[in-house]
Symmetry: D2
């Protein structure tokens, strides 16, 4: 299959501080559907346009942030090869049995990478009960609510040693790096990584504290929907970080804001069509401000300092 | 590499009836750049956002239509495997030497498929002189002209025996079929085929005459640009077929019109993010009108009858 | 006051064939709010962004169509002057007492014009209970539903002797004619008339049958909302007439479709900023197709033939 | 005429520091056309969609800022009445003869208002040589360049005693005030004033220094063009103040930036349809941040401090 190996980030488990208020945001404002709750009180959600069982799990905790991200790979065969390669890369892998803590999911393999983030790989997940139509389908079955995000798109992780993390993603997960930013000493400051035509499935920024998440990105259709989201952020008095603006990096049109528990959310549209044979885009750190915030031309402090 | 095998349709050679007038369209209205001319008078063009040497070659002829389409594959190794598999599939392959009739292109392998269309495969092509920026790049280097199409996106071919053609694309080129339409007898009426996240790299409609092309599709950023293209079609008195409208199939937002030589052009934005593990969308032929033209709910005769 | 005399068409009473189904359309799809019902079973509606008591009244009848349109004028003084001038123009005026058949409305003056349409003039109407905010207001108080039309914008009337109707609107109502279309014999084929910066508050097309309405136009924010309305028309299987397209006349971006009772609705965005001192735009009837449907370049038969 | 008295701000004369560089901005980036130069070296410009001779005059000077703004009124009769009323209001009026310092303009009447700004009134101006089409017209004659601004829309003036200025505009020019902001002591902090359906033709902010201009606003079609302008600001390395964002006040979608001489420019789309009979929107100064910058929820210092 032309599109294979690591297909996409398919699941993310986030820690939230107030399940009711935060859930209200994810459902009524972001527009996700609640799929189910686990016996230990976590809530599983999906967007209206995703086929898989769920893509976001919220867990009540004392501190916001990321429990783990899980990548869907093309087949069980690929999964077994990647697990083996992950162990050879030096990470300790544990198996999470099918249908244990994530309803609908087949077995997952879990390991911590050098940046302090927990990754998982899996190849099987049940279809959701409510998927997009497949027989003479309409473009949606029920009107999208609120921001109407289309799908979980990508995330940005902050942690140490991102060069190794990038190497893991390319060597073991067979992803590629359409765009990167180097420090004056030639070391990686930031890296954008994808396994497909999307300009990034995930990204890393070098950071001294391990295991931090900067934002979870959800897909919107276009710039106009970015504007409509900005209206909703204002009307709902959500705390905005930056935007509507555009990245020169990825070219995405975007807004960043915080959900009620303090996890940063990005809604994102546009972006170029990435191909592994196209030249890599390279940024110097002194141009990174313009790269990140094309309309502002500089980094805003909150963007570098606030992570969960 | 996660995105590999058949990367994309990278080159299309079209026959045109009047080089000057048609070229004026491709350059000033569609917004492509002339890259070079061949010794036999053909003109090579690319969009502002493509990296490869050129993507469209125009050849003066007595009849409009398609000479061939060429697909870029991930590596020479993949190329050799696919050539072998193509021969095993039963098609006769001939080699077109590097830098012969298409400037900048490495060796290509050419063969005719069952539908009467000539396909080519290649793995090497020079970068264009004027590519998108790669060092601290802006979103473009020069303002896009006219319709400002972003890239060659896909094409739709009309010919007999599309089930075999679909089988060729999936078995040999390792593409997949996100969406298809069957006749009441269960035979394929139409098929949409991709090797990536794009909902289609190419499509076929079953047709009694071989080797016909229905349209070449170019990418636009979003619905607003579809509207701006509609303005340009009107102002330039181009002959429109249909649109602005939306496909339910692929979900693309679109307009179809004819360039001065009579080849149908589609400009296209939106469309879902395709994945090979998502369920296939299936259409019955009596819903195909709504599938093709979601806003009209029915097929217009010209769309089925006029091909080049 | 700089903007005075005839302020706007503020009220329209339409005949519908099935109150439940049609009302469901006006509320859930078009996005209007039901304000009240009259003792004789008529339903009064307004958009989310209108201040006045209501703008559309639906009356159950055997035949769809228009009962009357009512214009808000700047003051009671203006009203009395216009009534007098209307009588001098030759129309018979009757008074409809305040708060009689239209809740919230002050006294209205009713008369039939040469085209067979019933016009009304009024200067007083109560504010709606739910208006847009006025103290530190948000852009809306509740999320607009469905198509989320912003306000009643204009209407197009078909009937005989539109030159006299145009003369009435300019001489008595003090409106002006930014755009018109003449037949080869120099007689008026169509006329667009406004009292403000909107390119039209109403329009007439010469037609042999009196008292017909072609469409009621509602305002949308922009082209993107035109696209979203097109999605809703398709998903709700409404019968579309034409669009998304653009008028060269007025420059509006538009879709026409029928509500369940068969009255044609236009949703409309854009359009130039009209001024009475700008030159008049003049169309020959053989260019009218392009003037009406800039993207199609020709009139579609249904647009000329179907009225209610 | 329903739309009369003060029609619109039709002309603005700005001081610029470097005629060549600044003119390049107004022509190539903002998209205006140079109409003519005066014998004393000033440059007259108009947008592609304006009918009048020119709307912006640039004068080389040591300090950026505003020389004067001129309002077109409906007729010479209105003009004479307004001049008389202006004198009765207490301002000293001088006549600027026809075709003297502003080519194409009839006689203008000039006076200084309490805020230190010079206003002019006129009723006659020649049509431009290149106007929008009026006989079976296309939506434009030549493709708009750069930002492609549609027309001079409004301006914001900073100066003392804006309550008197507001009173002048309403009592003498017959404009109205759709929206205002009061300080805790009940005094006017800011006022938005219009003579038409536009939410503002001009605005004032109370300020201790007289005669300052905050920005000149040009009209764009919609939010998408706001995004395209943001791209152009970034690519051309113009200095942006704020945006893309939205005002709650007027509801306009907007960006502010500085032209090369340091005059602030706004490009603006959307905004509600204003009517003099609709309730006035009133803001408290502690909500003004959200009113001005709906997406940011607060005023940025540069917006209050930098004027020319």
């Amino acid at each position: 299959m032309a599109l294979n190996q690591s297909l996409r980030p398919g699941l993310i488990q986030l820690r939230v501080l107030d399940l009711d208020e935060t859930l209200k945001f994810y459902k009524d404002i972001l527009g996700m559907d609640e799929v189910c709750r686990t016996s230990d009180g976590r809530v599983c959600l999906k967007t209206y346009d995703e086929f898989d069982h769920h893509s976001v799990t919220l867990r009540l905790a004392d501190e916001a942030g990321l429990d783990y991200v899980a990548f869907k790979v093309a087949s069980n065969e690929t999964l077994q090869e990647m697990v083996k390669a992950t162990e050879q890369f030096g990470y300790t892998v544990t198996e999470v049995p099918a249908d244990s803590d994530q309803p609908g999911y087949g077995k997952r393999y879990r390991f911590k990478i050098c940046t302090g983030h927990t990754f998982e790989l899996y190849s099987e997940v049940a279809l959701a009960e409510k998927t997009p139509g497949t027989i003479n389908p309409d473009i949606w079955n029920e009107p999208p609510r609120g921001m109407g995000v289309i799908r979980l798109d990508h995330f940005l992780l902050y942690g140490p040693n991102i060069e190794e993390a990038e190497r893991y993603c390319t060597e073991v997960m067979h992803m590629y790096v359409p765009e990167l930013c180097n420090k004056p000493d030639g070391k990686r400051m930031a890296t954008w990584i994808t396994g497909s035509n999307k300009p990034h499935d995930l990204a890393f920024v070098e950071y001294d504290k391990p295991g931090k998440i900067h934002h979870v990105g959800f897909l919107l259709q276009d710039w106009n929907h970015v504007g409509q989201v900005a209206d909703l952020i204002a009307i709902n008095r959500l705390k905005k970080d930056i935007g509507p603006t555009r990245h020169a990096i990825t070219r995405g049109q975007t807004i960043y804001f915080w959900e009620p528990s303090g996890n940063r959310i990005e809604v994102y549209a546009g972006g170029y069509t990435a191909y592994p044979d196209n030249p890599q885009r390279v940024w110097d750190v002194d141009h990174l401000g313009r790269g990140l915030f094309y309309y502002e031309g500089e980094i805003i402090p909150s963007f570098l300092e606030i992570v969960t």
